[in-house]
């Protein structure tokens, strides 16, 4: 049963990722990205990491994917839909590079002994994560808070600078 769910979620994740990049309209691409992020979240559930999975759904699908969707919808114009299609040479180069990276990683994985690990040994609970965040990793959390604040201020400044430019 777990294997069936894993295969289904793998298909959803990889298929939605391809849709995100290859959909004709960028808005369908954004929906495909959300589907792929959801697929990864279900893989986190299968890995016995429900806290990370819920965090992924809340932050990635609830915030990032919706932010992208709103950005596309608010400034939707003909130009967004009219992407210059990649030349066949660029497309071929992209497919070959992507395949080469995948084959290199996959052959390294198959050659290694990673398939020996079949049972989840570390099922850390919320408490373990909370303890780690509030003790050893507390400085990282503080720096991350500052980075988030800086990014929000940066994004607001960018849009404000643009308004001032338009006013001139």
């Amino acid at each position: 049963m777990a294997d069936l769910i894993f295969v289904a979620m793998m298909v959803v994740t990889v298929g939605s990722a391809i849709l995100a990049l290859e959909a004709d309209e960028i808005i369908y691409g954004a929906i495909g990205l959300a589907g792929s992020l959801f697929g990864v979240a279900t893989l986190f559930f299968l890995l016995d990491a429900p806290y990370v999975a819920v965090f992924q759904i809340a932050v990635y699908i609830g915030a990032v994917a919706v932010l992208i969707l709103f950005t596309v919808m608010l400034v939707r114009q003909e130009k967004w839909a009219k992407e210059v299609p990649a030349t066949s040479l660029t497309r071929l180069a992209g497919i070959l590079t992507g395949l080469a990276v995948f084959i290199a990683l996959a052959s390294a994985t198959i050659a290694s002994n990673l398939s020996q690990f079949s049972t989840i040994t570390n099922n850390a609970t919320f408490v373990d994560i909370g303890v780690l965040i509030s003790t050893g990793d507390a400085p990282i959390l503080l720096v991350l808070g500052l980075v988030l604040a800086a990014s929000v201020v940066g994004a607001l400044t960018l849009s404000r600078a643009d308004k001032e430019e338009n006013a001139k």
């Binding site: 990864v40 932050v59 079949s118 989840i120 570390n122 850390a124 780690l132 991350l144 980075v147």
Partner: protein, 110 residues
């Protein structure tokens, strides 16, 4: 039963698709999608290795190791900040140039 290598292979697939997108696409939003897919591939690896491999060190007051999951929480938050900044840049570039094709945005070229 799924093994660690199954998850690593899915992650490699996602990473390969992200590389394909970075090489072929010129639309700034598609590039953002490709980068997000690659970040997710890395996150999946972090959680998979953290859950399957035997714990070397232990968290204070606990016998399990939550480092992999904790790192992914930080990574997701950082990716959200990155997406917000990139979208702001994309919107400004669109207002200034009426286009989000990165090959057309040449005003910052050295």
């Amino acid at each position: 039963m799924n093994t660690l290598s199954d998850f690593v292979l899915v992650s490699a697939m996602l990473f390969g698709i992200g590389i394909y997108g970075l090489v072929t696409k010129r639309n700034a939003l598609r590039l953002l999608f490709a980068v997000e897919l690659m970040i997710n591939a890395a996150n999946l690896n972090f959680v998979a290795f953290g859950q399957y491999l035997p714990s070397l060190g232990t968290t204070a007051g606990s016998s399990t190791n939550a480092v992999g999951q904790t790192f992914v929480l930080f990574s997701i938050a950082l990716a959200a900040a990155e997406a917000a900044v990139i979208l702001a840049i994309v919107v400004v570039a669109y207002r200034l140039h009426k286009d989000v094709d990165v090959s057309e945005l040449k005003s910052m070229e050295g």
